[in-house]
């Protein structure tokens, strides 16, 4: 049986107290993130390269991390979801499905680019000015995204081309997340219900210009230390 947190105040004060010593071990990263951008002109020549650390994970990413730690059930015997999944992600406490079937959860990620800027908050759920997919004015052509896994790093990669007729400036980047619940609905149909979130948000130290006819690759690398 699991119980909900009732942490004594004196314990909580100590838990949240900053580390007093700046030990090398205490500064070791657990999960580190960086953003890589490479811009090419219409002839394929590289005209800009960037690499900067990503620093702005949202509470929704923290909620995602709760799944491999806490599971999805609030206890071994309860048929309700963990409080984090319900209260933070807004997922149903108990997914309705048919009596002979179960419900499943999984997730996916993608990169979204934007042309605005905004202050970061832990509850941020969208970019300030998302750049839409397409070839019209102010748009970038998004190609299929890919994910690399090597050793202990996961990289999300997006390539875009600018067919809009004008230079497009990218000033913000987000790692979007979609959590899927799969179940059988009341009509007996297989259903995939998506729930969308912003997992990270960053602005570039200086905006990235993609000339008309040019292309760019953006990569968000998440490294798990061991």
């Amino acid at each position: 049986m699991l119980i909900q947190n009732e942490i004594p105040k004196e314990d909580l004060d100590y838990i949240l107290e900053p580390f007093k010593e700046d030990r090398e071990e205490d500064n070791k990263q657990i999960i580190s993130e960086k953003i890589i951008a490479i811009v090419r002109d219409a002839k394929g020549n590289i005209i800009d390269k960037r690499e900067q650390k990503m620093r702005s994970l949202t509470q929704y990413y923290l909620a995602l991390i709760s799944i491999p730690i806490l599971g999805t059930y609030s206890s071994p015997t309860s048929n309700t979801a963990t409080s984090i999944l319900v209260n933070v992600l807004g997922l149903p406490s108990t997914q309705s499905t048919t009596s002979t079937n179960t419900a499943l959860i999984t997730f996916d990620t993608s990169i979204q680019l934007g042309s605005g800027t905004q202050s970061f908050s832990l509850t941020l759920n969208s970019l300030s000015a998302p750049i839409l997919n397409g070839t019209g004015t102010g748009r970038l052509n998004y190609y299929s995204q890919s994910v690399l896994y090597t050793s202990n790093s996961v990289s999300q990669i997006l390539t875009v081309s600018n067919l809009s007729g004008n230079t497009i400036t990218v000033s913000e980047i987000g790692l979007m997340g979609t959590i899927y619940l799969m179940y059988i609905n009341s009509s007996g149909n297989y259903t995939v219900q998506p729930y969308n979130f912003l997992f990270s948000y960053d602005t570039f130290s200086s905006p990235i210009s993609i000339p008309n006819g040019g292309s760019a690759s953006f990569q968000i690398v998440i490294t798990f230390s061991g």
Partner: protein, 233 residues
């Protein structure tokens, strides 16, 4: 395992001079391990805290998005605490596989089992699938009495920090001092398709830490372990 090819060498990148130093970014995500020992009267006799470092390979497998599975066609091999393996490859396609979610149909729960403590150490936390020398539950020689694991009611936002805490306490009724030198989080994973076919389950070590300084718990004393997972703005 490589998901797809990229047309540039990511190891040969220009890092702008205005790029931030590593120290400016290490706080975006971190985990902390806090241990508090109390005597038989409940008086605190030792406090200990260290940064937690080590998601395991099981954890990373659960953090891979669908795109990786779809693009590569690969599956992930989990290793349970008994050193047996099972594979996982989620998809949203009908009759595809996923992690079971609470529902009113047929269900097998997946949940946190406990914060397991041990008296040994694994040299490579990343590949660890169990503690090196788990301390079992009980009041016999070398045992600790495990209470139930305590889970968060939500994510707490405090200023520029969001966090959740899990904890578990242990009482030493063994008659002798017991030393804790390793700690890990065990999660019971249950995967299947929507018809609950080809069910794969197992206790997985998803997080593991060796203590910088082992903690001694005297007979009659108790210890509580807190794991704090945080992101910072």
């Amino acid at each position: 395992m490589v998901g797809s090819k990229v047309d540039y060498d990511i190891s040969n990148l220009y890092i702008p001079k205005d790029g931030k130093g590593d120290n400016d970014f290490q706080k975006s995500f971190y985990a902390t391990l806090t241990i508090i020992v109390r005597d038989k009267d409940g008086k605190v006799i030792k406090k200990y805290k260290q940064k937690s470092h080590s998601p395991t390979t099981n954890f990373i497998g659960l953090m891979l998005p669908l795109t990786w599975y779809n693009a590569t066609g690969n599956s992930w091999t989990f290793i349970n605490t008994l050193n047996s393996t099972f594979i996982y490859a989620p998809t949203i396609a009908s009759l595809g596989f996923g992690i079971q979610y609470p529902n009113n149909g047929t269900t097998i729960n997946d949940y946190i089992v406990n914060i397991l403590v041990g008296s040994g150490s694994n040299s490579n936390p990343y590949s660890a699938y169990n503690l090196n020398a788990p301390i079992s539950n009980g009041s016999g020689t070398g045992q600790l009495f495990y209470s139930s694991v305590s889970t968060p009611t939500s994510i707490t936002i405090n200023g520029n920090q969001a966090y959740f805490i899990i904890s578990q306490s242990y009482a030493n009724q063994s008659g002798a001092t017991i030393t804790i030198s390793e700690v890990g989080i065990i999660m019971y994973l249950n995967t299947s398709n929507i018809l609950e076919q080809n069910v794969k389950t197992g206790n997985l070590l998803v997080w593991y830490d060796v203590l910088s300084s082992p903690i001694s718990v005297g007979n009659g004393q108790s210890v509580i372990i807190y794991y704090t997972f945080s992101v910072n703005a």
